[in-house]
């Protein structure tokens, strides 16, 4: 199992050497500039860290839906899915190994965003609760990798994965409170934000940037992990259904 997981991580690492697969990281400085500029121009430089968090969430989620979400679809397009599912290695584990790689690489966007905000606008992002911040990032990355694995399976069921990849971008940036916290969204949207793990993550991250105590930190961390796990369970179930179907019909490349 560890060998399979390690091989999947290594393989995806090789895939990510192509600049076209890193477009979210290339775009991050520009998103950071755009979002921080809005705050600075309005005389609210105190909100610039929100913009830094927002630019990071945009990059991490974008890579999750485009790079991770397209893993199985791309294998199917290249004709390698047949070989992959005929091996004894569990497909879900291979996909998880690959999405973990993408997610870890996508977290570089946080470093990019902090540096750009500092160099261009002199914005300093102070982390007042270092350990909680680190744990939140790790749990967010794990949940993101698990959610991306689920998406990789779900996208295969669609006629055009690209359509759904596009459709899932900004609605999730909005629902995840990437820049604007959920309580400022319309009331009818707020219950939906509760089932989006990123909205819990971004709230925690913003709280870590403030000097005061962070309320209910452990519970909120548990919710982030729980929602990620729920997505993974759903993803494994979807992958099993897909494999059963294509093994029965023989239509691996036309699922």
């Amino acid at each position: 199992m560890i060998t399979v997981f390690g091989a999947a991580v290594w393989f995806q690492g090789l895939q990510m050497r192509r600049v076209a697969n890193l477009s979210a990281l290339v775009n991050t400085p520009l998103f950071t500039l755009a979002l921080v500029a809005i705050m600075v121009h309005s005389g609210r430089s105190d909100l610039a860290p929100y913009a830094v968090v927002g630019a990071t969430v945009i990059a991490v989620w974008n890579m999750a839906i485009v790079e991770s979400g397209g893993i199985i679809d791309a294998d199917r397009g290249q004709g390698t899915l047949e070989a992959l599912i005929s091996t004894p290695a569990p497909l879900a584990l291979v996909v998880l190994g690959r999405t973990v790689t993408v997610t870890v690489i996508s977290l570089l966007s946080l470093v990019e965003s902090v540096i750009v905000a500092r160099l261009v606008f002199g914005v300093v992002v102070d982390v007042h609760h270092g350990w909680l911040f680190a744990v939140t990032l790790v749990l967010t990355a794990v949940s993101m990798a698990m959610t991306a694995s689920a998406l990789a399976g779900i996208f295969v069921l669609s006629r055009s994965a690209r359509t759904f990849q596009n459709a899932l971008s900004y609605p999730f940036y909005l629902l995840s409170g990437a820049v604007v916290p959920a309580p400022l969204l319309p009331e009818w949207l707020q219950p939906i934000t509760k089932v989006v793990f990123l909205s819990w993550s971004t709230d925690l991250i913003r709280d870590c940037l403030r000097p005061g105590a962070v309320p209910n930190a452990l519970t909120r961390l548990a919710v982030v992990a729980g929602l990620g796990l729920a997505a993974m369970v759903a993803g494994v179930w979807v992958l099993r259904r897909i494999l059963e179907r294509v093994r029965t019909t023989g239509a691996v490349s036309f699922a």
């Binding site: 600049v19 477009s23 809005i38 705050m39 121009h41 309005s42 359509t163 759904f164 459709a167 971008s169």
Partner: protein, 265 residues
């Protein structure tokens, strides 16, 4: 010559519409694509609420709604590259007609898509964010948005001539270009917010004057000011169209000379 080019343009446009029908069903366009567009505009407009400023909310709403026209039109970079991927580029270059009118029409579905999405975003979200839309005057925003689509499309054609040689970076070029326009053309902050030479650069980029004209229109500026902005946007569009024509001619001539039409990077 003109009749031939018009015929090629019309055939290419028919093909573009077929592409649009292949990409979207009316359900995926309405519920997936349009929803995402509305969410995109709302995502930026709601930052105005975070800032506690109705004026900023409305500025962001108008800027990001009109920006959608530019964003979608820049998909011309990706769809032009499809000709290379489909293996049809050598046939198009070998044809007796110039490839330029063909490529002008070949991705024109994005003009319609961009204009519709941006217009719907502006008119649907305005009441939700408290932006006054004086009628019937506000309806004049529709041709201005179409003009922004056209000028950005012309700009995108120039980029497409480059992308045809480097197909792998088509989405990267399209993404970076749209973000650059978002940054410097007055979408999120006025063009003068940035230091030189960015305000000067914005003057010759698409979107800047068209977006300015829409803002002037909605704020009740005199007709002459709005028309002036639209005229400048049209001049910018024409300039980029000429550059695009030269870029495609260079692509075809140099490709024939060095055999790189099918075997570029």
């Amino acid at each position: 010559m003109i009749r031939d080019n018009a015929r090629v343009l019309a055939a290419a446009f028919t093909s573009a519409l077929a592409d649009l029908r292949a990409i979207y069903t009316w359900r995926t366009w309405s519920f997936a694509w349009l929803s995402r567009i509305l969410a995109q505009v709302a995502f930026y407009a709601v930052i105005g609420r975070l800032l506690g400023s109705a004026e900023r909310t409305q500025y962001l709403l108008v800027g990001n709604a009109v920006f959608i026209a530019a964003l979608v039109s820049l998909l011309v970079c990706a769809s032009t590259a499809w000709e290379r991927q489909a293996g049809t580029l050598p046939l198009l270059v070998a044809a007796p007609t110039s490839p330029f009118p063909l490529f002008v029409g070949r991705s024109a579905q994005w003009l319609l898509d961009g204009t519709m999405c941006a217009s719907i975003a502006l008119f649907v979200l305005s009441p939700l964010f408290g932006l006054p839309m004086p009628m019937p005057r506000a309806l004049l925003a529709l041709p201005l948005i179409a003009l922004v689509s056209w000028s950005t499309y012309c700009f995108g054609l120039v980029l497409s001539a480059f992308v045809l040689r480097k197909v792998e970076v088509r989405n990267l070029v399209s993404g970076l270009s749209s973000l650059t326009l978002m940054l410097v053309c007055g979408v999120q902050v006025p063009t003068t917010f940035w230091p030189a030479p960015f305000p000067q650069l914005a003057e010759v980029l698409p979107l800047t004057h068209g977006l300015g004209a829409v803002r002037d229109l909605l704020s009740g500026a005199p007709a002459g000011v709005v028309v002036g902005g639209a005229a400048l946007e049209l001049c910018v569009a024409t300039g980029w169209l000429v550059v695009a024509g030269l870029a495609f001619r260079h692509l075809a001539e140099s490709g024939r000379r060095d055999g790189s039409i099918e075997f570029g990077d």
